[in-house]
């Protein structure tokens, strides 16, 4: 249960303590002492004079302050998500300290685009996290833990204060209060819920946890309807570049955009059958069918049709209708976004709103008639 040992003379000590540890509890992380803890050595000398009379004792004290050992944080990998082009993906990261003291962690993030334009993610430059160690074991059911005094007044101990989230023994707790007792060289942290999942030994890390957000705009899809941005974020201790963590699984953001194709068909048999072309006698009432298909995975909005009636045909008013999701809706010239402009021989249909939205893998069809002169 003791920390790593350095010199050869400690070999016997190591064997003894390892044997004890195996017999005792499940293996735990190495024990540690919080940064900023004062380790005080006081020596007293008592003595007598030549005649054996006791003299006043003298005392000397020396203090060693424990330093921070920078440690790589734990960092989550946000789940993959799909967004529509033109929107922004929001990634939520949870970052937790594993260090024995407060430290600042610099963040960096790279977005690799595939079939998509390059967009730089937006995220905080750094996150500061508090950290300390248990000065006494935390037992199941305890709502207060004891940590070393950090040498300062104030309401936070090693960066941890009311409202902080801390992880102890693998479980997360909310801090309600911090009470310092410099005379005892300790501080008490009050928790919002009792220690659960078993006792946590003295010397174990109490690390602060925070959540930060990274925003990545969609960028523009290059070809087709889909592209991806792959995000990889790294957090590194500002104290030691060796204490670095990169999210284990890069986050893939799939960006979808609508892809519209238009097909114009004509029926020479009054709407029974439609084809790209055909033959018909003068006087035949042709039915035109214009199909707008969205092959993308996301909706297209503000879809509008325009078509110019060719020469030798006469537009027939009152014959237009549009289908969305298979239901035919009759159209009246001059309302609902449907117009026929005789001067320019132009049919225009711009319904806007829901009527003008074509869902991913959906279609919008416009029918109207014209008679061959």
């Amino acid at each position: 249960m003791r920390s790593r040992l350095l010199s050869p003379s400690l070999r016997c000590l190591a064997l003894g303590t390892i044997a004890l540890a195996i017999a005792a509890t499940a293996p735990q992380a190495l024990a540690s002492t919080a940064a900023n803890t004062a380790i005080s050595n006081s020596a007293t000398v008592t003595y007598n004079d030549a005649g054996g009379i006791a003299q006043m004792p003298v005392t000397a004290t020396a203090i060693v302050t424990v330093t921070l050992v920078p440690s790589a944080v734990t960092l989550t990998s946000p789940a993959a998500q799909s967004i529509a082009q033109g929107t922004t993906a929001t990634l939520s990261y949870t970052i937790t300290s594993t260090a024995n003291g407060p430290d600042i962690y610099s963040l960096s993030s790279a977005a690799i685009a595939s079939n998509l334009s390059t967009v730089t993610p937006v995220f905080p430059a750094n996150v500061s996290l508090g950290g300390t160690t248990l000065a006494a074991p935390a037992n199941n059911g305890d709502t207060t833990i004891t940590v070393p005094y950090d040498g300062t007044g104030g309401s936070t101990v090693n960066g941890i204060g009311a409202g902080s989230l801390v992880v102890i023994g693998g479980n997360v707790y909310t801090v309600l209060s911090v009470t310092k007792n410099s005379g005892n060289n300790t501080a008490l942290i009050g928790l919002g819920s009792p220690i659960a999942g078993g006792s946590v030994a003295a010397g174990q890390i109490v690390g602060e946890r925070k959540i930060f957000t990274l925003n990545e705009a969609s960028g523009v899809v290059s070809t087709g309807g889909t592209g991806t941005q792959t995000i990889t974020t790294t957090a590194v201790s500002a104290t030691s570049s060796g204490a670095t963590t990169t999210q284990a699984t890069p986050t893939v953001i799939t960006v979808n955009r609508p892809t519209l194709t238009v097909v114009k068909l004509v029926s020479v048999d009054g709407g029974a059958t439609f084809a790209a072309s055909g033959n018909a006698a003068p006087g035949t009432s042709l039915v035109y069918k214009i199909v707008a298909t969205n092959s993308g995975a996301t909706a297209a909005s503000q879809v509008a049709f325009t078509d110019v009636i060719p020469a030798y045909l006469t537009y027939v008013a009152g014959t237009a209708n549009a289908t969305a999701y298979g239901a035919a809706v009759p159209l009246t010239e001059g309302s609902g976004g449907y117009t026929y402009t005789a001067g320019s021989r132009t049919v225009a249909y711009d319904p806007g709103g829901g009527g003008g939205t074509v869902a991913g893998s959906g279609e919008l069809v416009l029918f109207f008639r014209a008679t061959i002169n």
């Binding site: 920390s3 380790i39 005080s40 050595n41 424990v66």
Partner: protein, 165 residues
Amino acid sequence: MKLRSLVVSLALLAQVAFAAPASAKPHIVVSIAQAKEVVETKGGAQTRRMVPTQSASPGDVVEYVLTYANQGDEAATNAVVEDPIPKGTTYVSGSATGDGALLTFSADGGKSFAEPVKLTYEVRLPSGAVERRVATPAEYTHIRWTIAKLAPGATGTVAFRVQVH
């Protein structure tokens, strides 16, 4: 008149003469110096040296050197330097030194001291029985150096090492 003033002067002189030298006594002073073991690698070879320090990381070995001196004008006898192993550290086995001093340890919080070979302590088992165990260096709670006699003007040092948790 002259005789009286002479007697008064003589009496005063006598008082001053007898009050003069204060009785000889010892006066011990003690100080602690802290140093940390630093490992350096130069040209493939590792060297360890102790550097003075006010700070240490968990796992570091800290050496305390206690320097004592008798600044009085009489020998001190039965000088006992007692140092509890600082809270938050473990005594490094075999690291205590102190020429001319008898070295003993305690493993029961300072209640009893003995030389390492003989050092034991009692443990109360859950069954209620009391078991006597031989203390291992990691269990030492206090160190004591006993110096039988320290002459006036004499100094000495004792030292030991601990590992920071």
